[in-house]
Amino acid sequence: MFEFQNVSKQFGTTVALQSTTLQLQAEQSYVLLGTSGCGKSTMLKLMLGLLSPTTGTVLFDGTPLQPEKLDEVRRRIGYVIQEGGLFPHLSAFDNVALVSRYLKWDEERIRKRISELSHLVRLPEDSLTRFPGQLSGGQRQRVGLMRALMLDPSVLLLDEPLGALDPIIRFELQEDLRTIFRQLNKTVVMVTHDLNEACYFADEILLLDAGHIVQRGSIQQLVETPATDFVARFIKAQRSELPGANA
């Protein structure tokens, strides 16, 4: 689905992503895991063409990203960020409908699709008349997910989608997300710094440190055969958050 060929990204003199080559398969769930500043969000933005690589080529569906075709590619990708990235001047409904209106869907079709989606993400339809400022963090995130799913994209990219939520809402949404991913059978790439979240969602984890992928594999592989000292320490640090985890 996605392919990086020697892709690197620099901001001024700071290297955000060192030269990376990788392939991500369709219908798999990937988690880009790492501490802040490790380059995981940069990778996501490179996939969307929100950033252009300093060197190398990013391919989507076997085709290199080209500036003139970016909009088309982006409409085949759903992108969810913290708080959903909703536009405050539009109601939840209008946020979700934004792109379909540009594509000139008729209103009936838009209503039908949004009704479907609200069931899928378990958000009461009547709350869609509200504005983002009137919704809770969890509701905003569900609306953000609806917007990302509106055109039924084959890929979902999620950048810390649960980052700003309090624990209970976070837990509920986490469960719902996994159900949705299973149901829809989409390629999912999620960015997080949270190991538990990674375990929960990922078919495969890509652990990043200082702009390069230090290990790629299932959670068992990361736990049992950490590739570097960093991997071992990263896992140990997050597991020890739970009392008795070291026992």
């Binding site: 992108y79 960020i81 400022g133």
Partner: protein
Amino acid sequence: MKKLTIIITLLLLLAFIPFSFQPEGIRVGSKKFTESVILGECLKQLAVDANQPAIHYRELGGTKLVFESLVNGELDAYVEYTGTIREEILAGEEAKTLEEMRELLQRRGIRMSEPLGFNNTYALALKRSRAEELGVKTVSDLTRHPSLVYGFGNEFMARQDGWPGLQQAYGLTPSKVSGLDHDLAYRQIDLGTIDVTDAYSTDAKIKVHDLVLLEDDRSYFPRYDAVVLYRADLAERHPGVVKSIERLQSSIDQPTMTAANARTEVERVTESQVAADLMRDLFEVEADVKKSTLAGRLFRRSLEHLDLVRKSLIPAILLAIPLGIIAMKFPKFGSGVLGVVGIIQTIPSLALLVMLMPLMAFLGLASIGTGSATAITALLLYSLLPIVRNTHTGLKSISPQHQQAALALGLPAGYRLLNIELPLASRSILAGIKTAAVMNVGFATLGALIGAGGFGQPIITGIRLNDTGLILEGAIPAALMAVVVQFGFDAIEKLNSPPEK
């Protein structure tokens, strides 16, 4: 897109549906001092006496503006002074005699009447008490008192035949000289903040403020004989009017003119009435002087003022928002745009009006009178800065998160701009429009400098006549209108902001 087209069309209709019509007739003008206004009224009444409707554009902004209007055909006639013609209008052309002046004016399509009979020259004036205390009788005497403070009208400060020449001719070296509005100079001299000012020799205020005129012992000041300047084609279009106006030649002597000025300035008789009385006494011409009511005046001026505001503000909005967008998208061009609209803001209004006049004449647009394209363009230019700047800032301050969310949706630039970026920036843009609108209501008083009326008219008349009531008659409604505009935009802002709870 359809919505946008409708909005723009509605705004343009709102801006340009006419709600007043420019009256037709002989167009006479006058400058910002009482004598000029009275003589302008005389011209008007004499034209009416020759059975032609006439309009008097009173208290226009200055010699250059009035004379250019005459040359452009926006005015048909006004009263000027030979000294001003020689030193200002024909500056650098060495016209010594009346015949030479007439010849040079003729080349511009302008004719000059014979002198009207009085000489209104410049003179220096002091408070009588101060002059007696110092023993100053002539301009030469001033050289003995270098500590005196001089305050001159701005025109006198700048004119070749004003202060610069006078200073040289007498070798005056005062400690302090400042330029100020001539009407304010009289107040300053009353307060004692200045000692010496310039005055006109037929000025009623000499008596009111108890001033003495210093003898011009070196005959520095040239003669300022009043004459009528009129367009050569007026004689062809309306020979009767020219004949009627020519009756003024050699008919008003200095005491008559001074007395007429005093009736307006001291006794508060309107210029129209003074002119009517003068015309009756001199030529047995009966003029119908209409008395206006306060409500009528307020209504008319509100319309005139609103007309200036809408015709300048709405196009300014439609121009400034795209400029702000371009400035945002092309930063290099943008800093240029922001620089230029910033500089425009610093140009004094009269200078801007004078600069715009030839351009408007070239475009065939009217400068003088209600709906003056010059006044509207000046106001439009003044309104650009806050809107351009706030559009630019508003777009620039959209959070990177929202920008990327918009990009990631795969919407093309134009659609993003209209549906996401401009709405997100709308709070800032509206604030800019509000600032521009409130400023515009204030600036629109400049319309009075160019005959476009509005609340500026009673303000300049009030300053001229030292009449606080008249100043307030313009200032209070202008302030009220600004407040109403402010509230109006506050309401729009409230409607525009998305609900929070």
